[in-house]
Assembly symmetry: C2
Homo-oligomer: 213 residues x 2
């Protein structure tokens, strides 16, 4: 995934045709399109293959199993052409390393803290340790919430030059400029793009906003 | 899932035809057949539907996302006829509750500690808190490793009459009788059944062993 627009679309759309249409419309505007299990399960993994022709796809599967199962999941993700996968660090170094190994020259991002209320219970208190897992297990980067830019700064100190992807911009209240200023490499935006009447225009406007700080 | 044989097959087989054959062969011997993402992704979710005609299926998807995404995943699991789903508790009460709500009268099991080396890093130190999440968020039961029966006793005290499912019997070194004596309701066995020349006979032998303590 090349860093140009610094914008990633969270395509939380479960209708395969609609999802592919939107990916087609914004694929060259955004740096990546993040999809998750509800779409992949309803459409089948063929959707990853199709979408990878239109955009750089990140499978946000929150992979969280033992090393061998992680490997088998990520091998399928990679075989279908996805450039990135998101996994949990909570299952330990070996499980993350299995993802990194299976992804080859693709990218693996480790969840640090999550911004929903339940994320405060276990992920937030362990966020710094989870960021260290990402570094030590050979991941490409981490996920850290744009809703708490002060936390991005802390995570940046731990992960060095690893990539930081920040969800929570737009509908969830985070500001793209704040997240980027705090050290994020990419902001992840969902509804503000895919629920817009013209997703491409919405994405372009966001890119312009990012470029102008 | 009725408790008769107290035996669950971990069907870690990625070939759909072979998986269905084995489920057919042992479906009425075991209380449940646990499958995971590598199979569901390669075969498509139709495999859950087909297998549910042959056995009581538990989707070991280690569901670990925000509440809304968990709900969307588990709704698909349930719609395909699975009777159970396995989720992570470290994403918090709300995420587990979303699974329980979406599963309706089906069963939700929460991972406590995991027995692979990486499981010692975050899941083991938090196992008791994760068991409490299961109780408080309305889950049906928990997963706790048969390789450490002394830990099953501790978890049992926390979860009361919730079900405890114990993997790690057989190839991984745990003894069924030890896990059950420590308080597990079911043991989960994989390779000793699905890699046996005659899976049905292997399952029957295990059931007999369980019945005779």
């Amino acid at each position: 995934m090349r860093r140009r627009s610094r914008l990633i679309l969270a395509l939380d759309e479960t209708d395969p045709d609609k999802a592919l249409q939107i990916a087609e419309a914004v694929g060259d505007v955004v740096d990546g399109v993040k999809i998750n299990y509800p779409l992949a399960l309803s459409a089948g993994m063929g959707i990853v293959e199709e979408m990878s022709k239109k955009a750089s796809v990140i499978c946000d599967f929150k992979v969280a199993d033992i090393p061998n199962t992680n490997r088998l999941i990520v091998e399928q993700v990679r075989a279908k052409g996805a450039e990135g996968v998101i996994c949990h660090g909570f299952v330990g170094h070996d499980s993350v390393k299995a993802c990194a190994d299976a992804m080859g020259d693709g990218e693996v991002f480790v969840v640090t803290e999550m911004s929903h209320p339940g994320g405060m219970e276990f992920t937030q208190p362990n966020a710094e340790a989870l960021a260290r897992v990402a570094v030590e297990a050979g991941a490409t980067g981490v996920i850290a919430p744009a809703t708490r830019p002060e936390r991005i700064k802390v995570i940046r100190k731990i992960v060095g030059d690893l990539k930081i992807l920040s969800p929570g911009v737009g509908a969830q209240g985070g500001k793209a400029s704040d997240a980027l200023a705090a050290g994020a490499d990419y902001v992840i935006v969902g509804r503000a793009i895919y629920q817009a009447e013209e997703p491409r225009k919405a994405a372009e406007a966001l890119v312009e906003e990012i470029e102008n700080g």
